[in-house]
């Protein structure tokens, strides 16, 4: 299971890569592996205000429908439209393909997220 060190993680298996007040958000290797073949991504809406822990999109595999939760509160600055045409990119490279970029409204949200080590331990409890 690939869990890059420099990212932060949620219990719902999203990752966020924070750079100043910008955060790239995607789904983890664990998430793509457990979903199986991903065939549809409903992206967050551009400029939408999202709240930490709230639904902002959907990722669907052949079998399952998974809600995408925002790891932080803020505004959606950009969405990765490439995923609408090629959702399988999330299977192929879950950390190389972000889903949305969020402008953080509260850096304090990051304290509620897990480090790579914490996320790894968390995933082990789920097996």
């Amino acid at each position: 299971m690939n869990i890059p060190k420099k990212l932060l993680y949620t219990k719902e298996h999203e990752w966020i890569k924070v750079n100043g007040d910008k955060g790239h958000v995607g789904i983890t290797d664990y998430a793509q592996h457990h979903l199986g073949d991903i065939v549809f991504v409903e992206l967050p809406e551009l400029d939408e205000e999202v709240a930490a822990g709230e639904s902002m999109g959907v990722v669907e595999s052949v079998k399952a429908v998974a809600t995408l939760f925002s790891p932080v509160s803020g505004q959606v600055m950009e969405v990765n439209e490439e995923l609408e045409e090629a959702p399988e990119l999330l299977n192929e490279d879950p950390y190389g393909n972000w889903i949305a970029i969020i402008e953080l409204s509260d850096q304090g949200d990051l304290e509620g997220l897990m480090s790579a080590d914490e996320y790894k331990s968390y995933c082990e409890t789920l097996e």
């Binding site: 199986g36 073949d37 065939v39 549809f40 409903e42 669907e60 595999s61 052949v62 079998k63 429908v65």
Partner: protein, 368 residues
């Protein structure tokens, strides 16, 4: 309640199946390194091996067995010859479906019914309740393991393991004594994928051996296939799934299975309700649809026209063969014409779709 395992469970571990709870059975949804889409394509292009040992087997024996089976199911059992297989719904007096099943006729006093795993106990009870004198029913599910070998390469693979010319087993016929690698098996040319192929019934203690023989004979041409692709394959071929296209509240006529309802065949259970429904005309029926807007239709999503409910999706998914979402919906009659625009409620938002005809996979089974 503890989960049940099929005799092939060790094979699912060996081939790295991802095990799920499927109606109380521990079965693989897919295999590591493959996944639903690859497994699906393997069956369409080459061959796949499925463990379907969870299916139920009920035998009906006695002087009046033919009459009994005819009374239970909607298809024309009396027209069957020895060693023929027939698909049929089995109905309640209301016309709703108890289950859909395969009838194997050994002779007019000896039948094997193969039923859905989740319905096996219910079916057996139903059959017992409707038993006529001179007939016995017995639930033999634990005595059979069942493998399905499906795909264009299925025959070529199985032929390597038997001296019997498999061309002799025609579509929807069976041979109860096929020697496969030294083991006696019942083999029918049947399946649930829309491809040519076989279903192989064997004693549980021989199941692993037969599995490995077939995997070995198949080499690069075969892969084990999980329940995920079993569902996507049957769906694309528009083969009904109990609980979705048919159930106790949906009649075979509504589900487009009228071909398997032979009202002239005899007085089967549900006949008068189905006859009445046919005479009065259907109020709803199953239709194909494709998506115009973005989204994937799923089982039980509501369907609307002009903001009013007109039915629901029975099955829907991203079709691996067509690489786009398609679906089946049970709709009120006035919205069933091909070309009609409908709204699928996906997460409470209406998404445009269009009723179609002939948009599903054309079966490659050797029906002649």
């Amino acid at each position: 309640m503890s989960l049940k395992r099929t005799p092939l469970y060790p094979m699912h571990l060996k081939y790295n199946g991802k095990i799920i709870d499927f109606g109380g059975w521990e079965l693989p949804v897919q295999y590591e390194g493959m996944g639903i889409i690859k497994e699906h394509n393997m069956v369409r292009e080459k061959a796949g091996l499925f463990d379907v040992s969870h299916m139920g087997e009920i035998i009906i024996i006695g002087d009046r067995a033919e009459e009994m089976v005819q009374r239970l199911v909607t298809n024309d059992v009396k027209s069957m010859q020895d060693f023929q297989v027939m698909y049929s719904p089995m109905c309640y007096p209301s016309g709703g479906v108890v289950d859909d099943l395969l009838v194997y006729r050994y002779d007019s006093k000896n039948y094997l019914l193969v039923v859905n795993a989740a319905n096996a106990d219910k079916d057996y009870e139903w059959i017992q309740q409707n038993l006529i004198p001179g007939v016995e029913a017995s639930n033999r599910s634990a005595e059979y393991a069942q493998l399905a070998l499906q795909g264009p390469a299925a025959q070529q693979i199985l032929q390597k393991l038997t001296s019997l010319d498999l061309n002799a087993i025609r579509f929807f016929w069976f041979n109860p004594q096929v020697n496969i690698s030294g083991v006696e098996c019942l083999v029918s040319r049947t399946g649930y994928t829309g491809e040519d192929g076989f279903e192989i019934y064997v004693q549980p203690q021989q199941a692993e051996f037969i599995w490995e023989e077939i995997m070995g004979a198949g080499g690069e041409q075969i892969s084990p296939i999980g329940l995920g692709a079993r569902d996507s394959l049957r769906f694309e071929a528009k083969l009904p799934l109990y609980g979705q296209e048919i159930d106790q509240d949906i009649t075979p006529l509504e589900a487009g299975l009228g071909f398997f309802v032979k009202l002239e065949a005899g007085d089967f259970i549900g006949r008068s309700a189905l006859l009445k429904q046919k005479q009065e005309g259907l109020k709803r029926k199953l239709v194909e649809f494709s998506m115009l807007g973005k989204g994937i239709p799923r089982s039980h999503y509501e369907v609307e026209v002009g903001g009013l409910p007109v039915g629901h999706v029975s099955s829907g998914m991203h079709s691996p063969t067509f690489k786009q979402p398609i679906g089946l919906a049970l709709l009120n009659m006035e919205h069933c014409e091909a070309g009609t625009e409908i709204d699928i409620l996906i997460r409470n938002k209406p998404v445009k779709a269009r009723v179609g005809k002939g948009i599903f996979y054309k079966k490659k089974t050797k029906s002649k």
